[in-house]
């Protein structure tokens, strides 16, 4: 039984300017009581404010909003990367986050080595990684190219491998950031059925996309974010009337 609950979650995101990156300058400002350097160089962005929602098994949540509305930040909170300063977060279930399909890919390593590396990053055992290989071989159709370094691949081949790697596991709680909608038409058709199966295997999905069609197709619930706040949340069929 997978479960996610956010209770009044707020997150402040520090952004460090160039001069606050210097140890020398920071030491001088400590030694002089901060009078020399301007403190304004570290900005604090309130990325999420009072976010509350609850997801149960079978929920497919689409996060919608403009750039900078907090979609990706919220996904990173759910993935356990950013820790909110205020509020409570409960996650039950193993998280699979796909924030970048090319996670950890090493262009110097071969396709097979990249399969192994991704398996290690995901925390799989050697036998689980081996079990993943035939599926990736079949989907990517890369054949002997899998024995070659990834840097020799065309961008389309690299994308196929990255996509194949990302969708080879069986997810429990699945977090996806803007991965659908890249690649050529023929690949998209093939990728589409694969991602549909991949999502079907998961118990909870949280997906961000700018593409409303994508949200409507994969999700049953939606949250509309604006400046880090929930502007509207509800059934995906009512999304368009409440969220422009």
């Amino acid at each position: 039984m997978s479960y996610i609950k956010l209770d009044n979650v707020s997150l402040v995101y520090p952004v460090y300017g160039a001069s606050s990156r210097s140890l020398k300058r920071s030491l001088i400002s400590v030694a002089t009581g901060g009078r020399i350097s301007n403190h304004g160089n570290t900005l604090e962005v309130r990325a999420l404010s009072n976010i509350s929602f609850e997801l149960l098994t079978g929920d497919r949540l689409g996060l919608v909003g403009h750039n900078g509305s907090g979609k990706s930040t919220l996904l990173r909170v759910l993935a356990g990367i950013y820790r909110p300063q205020i509020g409570r977060l409960i996650v039950r279930g193993k998280i699979t986050s796909i924030l970048d399909v090319a996670l950890g890919m090493d262009p110097e390593a071969t396709g097979y080595e990249n399969i192994y590396l991704r398996g290690l990053l995901t925390g799989l055992s050697d036998s689980e990684i081996r079990a993943m290989v035939p599926d990736i071989e079949e989907f990517t159709e890369l054949g002997n190219f899998l024995r070659m370094p990834v840097k020799t691949y065309s961008s389309g081949m690299t994308l196929r491998l990255a996509f194949g790697l990302s969708t080879a596991v069986t997810p429990e709680i699945l977090l996806i950031d803007e991965v659908i909608g890249t690649g050529d038409a023929a690949f998209m058709e093939k990728a589409h059925s694969r991602i549909q199966q991949f999502i079907d295997r998961s118990s909870i999905l949280v997906l961000t996309s700018h593409n409303r069609q994508v949200i409507e197709q994969f999700c049953n619930k939606a949250i509309c974010l604006e400046h880090g706040r929930i502007k509207w949340s509800g059934n995906v069929s009512e999304l368009n009337e409440h969220c422009k």
Binding site: K5, L23, R76, I90
Partner: protein, 277 residues
């Protein structure tokens, strides 16, 4: 079991999102397949396309030791069978310590791609740096082995003291590594600071010279932590007695850097994803 109603257990396992301090360290140790693979691929990448591959490490250390031995045999009139083994072991240990410390400053920062995408124990990145330098040490150990065989110096029972020394040095390097990696992620000029400190440390450490040559100003020696690290690892191999202060001081350094790094890590670990951006 009434697990169907999640409201009944609101405190259940938020820990899978934010591990405890020990959870971080144990989690990182359990990921040994990941960081040893990453360490090995770092080394392979560094020497990709070269004929000798990682054996370049061995060769360049051999050349350095040979050249310095020739010069210093003239300069200090030191007997080669005493000087060369001491220099070789000292240099190889120094290469390991300085490599680990200087690469630690970029330890978290260079893991940026992973840190901002998935939740991994942060210590994985420190273990990766130490493991990478251990692999380099293993290549350099070939030179030590050849020198010891050449001078027919076969280690005696004192070699057993290498074990506590290694454990203490490992604790010191992992702790100092995490401290440097965190400061290096926050402040980008840390790499230069560490590089210049290490350069000075090399010259004030008894690697290319011997401790007894500067008996007049021994405070330079006794305030230098590198002296004790090298002494703890070198003397057991040479079969000579360890300096009387080495064990207590090494223990003190291990405990204090360990405590400082755990304190700093615990206080600031949630900032790391923002620092590496």
């Amino acid at each position: 079991m009434s697990f169907d109603n999640p409201e009944q257990q609101p405190h259940s396992s938020p820990s899978n999102l934010y591990p405890t301090l020990t959870g971080e360290i144990i989690g990182a140790i359990r990921r040994y397949r990941l960081w040893s693979y990453l360490a090995w691929s770092d080394i392979r990448q560094r020497y990709r396309g070269s004929v000798l591959g990682p054996l370049w490490i061995t060769l360049s250390t051999a050349i350095f030791v040979a050249a310095l031995s020739v010069i210093n045999a003239e300069l200090f009139k030191a007997p080669p069978e005493k000087y060369i083994p001491s220099l070789t072991i000292g240099f190889v240990i120094w290469y390991f310590i300085s490599g680990t410390l200087s690469e630690s400053t970029a330890g978290l920062f260079s893991g940026k791609g992973l840190i901002s995408q998935i939740s991994l124990p942060f210590y994985v990145h420190i273990f990766r740096v130490v493991a990478r330098n251990l692999l380099i040490l293993a290549h350099n150990a070939i030179v030590v082995f050849i020198v010891l065989v050449w001078f027919k110096m076969y280690p005696n029972f004192k070699l057993l003291l290498l074990l506590p020394g290694t454990i203490l040095v490992a604790i010191i390097l992992l702790s100092a590594g995490m401290i440097l990696a965190m400061i290096g992620a926050r402040y980008r000029d840390m790499q230069q600071v560490v590089a210049s400190i290490l350069q000075v440390l090399f010259f004030v450490s008894p690697i290319t010279w011997e401790a007894k040559q500067i008996s007049s100003s021994t405070w330079v020696l006794h305030l230098n932590p590198v002296f004790y690290v090298i002494d703890a690892l070198r003397s057991p191999i040479l079969g000579t007695p360890v300096h009387q202060n080495t064990w207590p001081i090494l223990l003190l350094i291990a405990v204090s850097t360990g405590a400082l790094s755990l304190w700093l890590f615990n206080k600031k670990r949630e900032k790391i994803p923002y620092w590496v951006q």
